[in-house]
Amino acid sequence: MKEVWSILRYELQKDFKQSYSFLGIILYLISSIFVCYWSFQAGLTAVTWNAIFWILSVFLSIQTVQKVWHEDRKEKIYLYLLVQPLHLFIGKLLYSLVLNNILVAINFLLCWSLLGEDIMQQAHIWAFLSVLALGISGMTIAFNFVASIGAQQASASSFSAILGLPIVLPLLSATVQSAKLAIQGFDWLVINPSIINMLALSSLSLGLSLVLFPYIWQE
């Protein structure tokens, strides 16, 4: 537990020291949402809004997870020697979960205010927010595992996107489906089956990555 806390503190310090990567992600968000804002003007339907929002969120979480795993080249030897692999994984996972949820909340606020104010009017907002948190957490878990595979490599930048997207696709389709239902204002009863689906897929990838990560980390 102490180790997990120190990993969390280390990641937080890293983000404050080298804030360029964090700010880069924010910049990516704002600029792509502005591009959408200009190109779509007012002709955005709920389904298109949903698709744009999730595409932004997926690449957002890929970038975040990559930042968490790939920016400690020099410190890697200390992490390797001082921390148990499982604790390292849990620490990094928790940090990226928190970070991704914050960033996705920002993403949601921007998309909502600029692109979809009238779209979200009829939405079942609590259902949408919980789908949002669940979906992004599940994706973060899967991308974390894949990024930890890539962390071993010299040319690691493309690893998360190429290896991670096939893993995340079913979760993503369930998420997009349930988010669409939530936007259209359906009740919990309708949304619940796909939420259960999302939960099952996320917990599957969580269990697998916890079992397999020690093998990746040991050299």
Partner: protein, 347 residues
């Protein structure tokens, strides 16, 4: 199993030859392809299109049955080899579903002998309007002494694809299970050989998976109307599994260091196999799918009561699996001699 023992190759060839010959040669059961009814002032006329049954060489008898009431056809006219026109009395028309019974005695099917067989065609009720196409939901046949495949609406002759499309996925699962076994045992106790077998098995599995996708696509075009049905969970699961294994191959080619390549790809392989099991085995059974046996659809085994399909299907599965083992063995041997060939020829 000693893979250099050639006997399993002979078995594979024999089984696949048997599959190709009987799978493509066995005729479909004679049946009724389409029935059109028209109602005159004093009679009900049925235009019947036959399938695999030559009207000129057979004696055909027709009657309609409805809750125990039977109406024999007043007259049967043979229009051409596959078209028969039957006239029934006006009283045969009711508002309820009727069964059309067609019994035939044919000399030209099955070769030597003639058989007396019957086909039952449940029909939508004959209505007052002229010329309504009658929906045939399912016809039931009785055949004695003939080796035929069942005649199914929608499937028709494509029922033979059962021996090619389905075994492809069995082989794919079999090979990825082999690969999974070697990947797990690599993580427990690393060796170059295990890594090699695991990766080669995936390469062959991807080949068979691609064949499964192609045969399935063609089948879907015929039966479901389009090459890809995007709502079908099993199709999407299969596509994602293929993507996972392609990503596995990409991971192997992108990693330069031999040791970390073996380790990382073994880990990714375990992940990929587990997800594939979820996508292809668990989710389609829970959600809707057009495939037999999924989403509340009856499995194939419920259809082929006469088990004529099974007699070819099981040998086909075994034959394809043995063929895959054969390909895998050749690939493994190739991998073994590659390093020494490199040292000899310098390339």
């Amino acid at each position: 199993m000693n893979l250099l023992n050639p006997s399993y190759k002979i078995v594979a060839v024999v089984l696949l030859a048997y599959t190709l010959f009987y799978g493509l040669k066995t005729p479909l059961a004679p049946s009724v392809y389409k029935v059109q009814s028209s109602i005159n002032a004093d009679a009900v006329v049925l235009d019947i299109e036959l399938y695999n049954l030559n009207a000129h060489n057979s004696t055909i008898d027709l009657y309609l049955e409805d809750d125990g009431d039977k109406w024999q056809a007043k007259s049967i006219a043979i229009l051409d080899a596959t078209h028969v026109q039957a006239v029934f009395e006006k009283q045969a028309r009711t508002n309820r579903t009727q069964n059309l019974f067609l019994t035939y005695q044919s000399a030209n099917l099955g070769g030597k002998n003639s058989f007396l067989n019957a086909i039952q065609v449940p029909m939508a009720y004959l209505q007052n309007e002229n010329q309504i196409a009658t929906a045939i939901e399912k016809s039931t046949e009785w055949h004695e002494g003939m080796q035929v495949f069942p005649f199914r609406e929608q499937l028709y002759e494509t029922i033979r694809n059962l021996f090619f499309h389905v075994p492809m996925w069995f082989v794919m699962l079999f090979l990825s299970a082999i690969s999974l076994y070697y990947s797990i045992s690599y993580l427990k106790n690393p060796s170059v050989r295990k890594d090699m077998i695991a990766s080669q098995a995936i390469k062959v599995a991807v080949l068979f998976g691609a064949l499964g996708l192609v045969t399935g696509s063609i089948w879907a075009r015929f039966t479901w109307g389009s090459f890809w049905v995007s709502q079908d969970v099993k199709l999407n699961g299969a596509a994602i599994s293929m993507l996972l294994y392609l990503a596995y191959l990409w991971l192997r080619s992108a990693t330069k260091d031999d040791l970390s390549r073996a380790k990382l790809s073994a880990v990714y392989n375990i992940f990929a196999f587990t997800l594939m099991m979820v996508f292809m085995m668990i989710l389609p059974r829970m959600l809707d799918s057009l495939h037999p046996g999924n989403g509340g659809n009856p499995a194939f085994s419920k259809y082929d009561l006469d088990s004529s399909l099974r007699g070819v299907f099981y040998p086909a599965v075994l034959g394809w699996i043995l063929l895959a083992i054969w390909i895998l063995e050749i690939r493994i041997r190739l991998c073994k001699i590659k390093p020494s060939a490199k040292s000899i020829y310098g390339k």
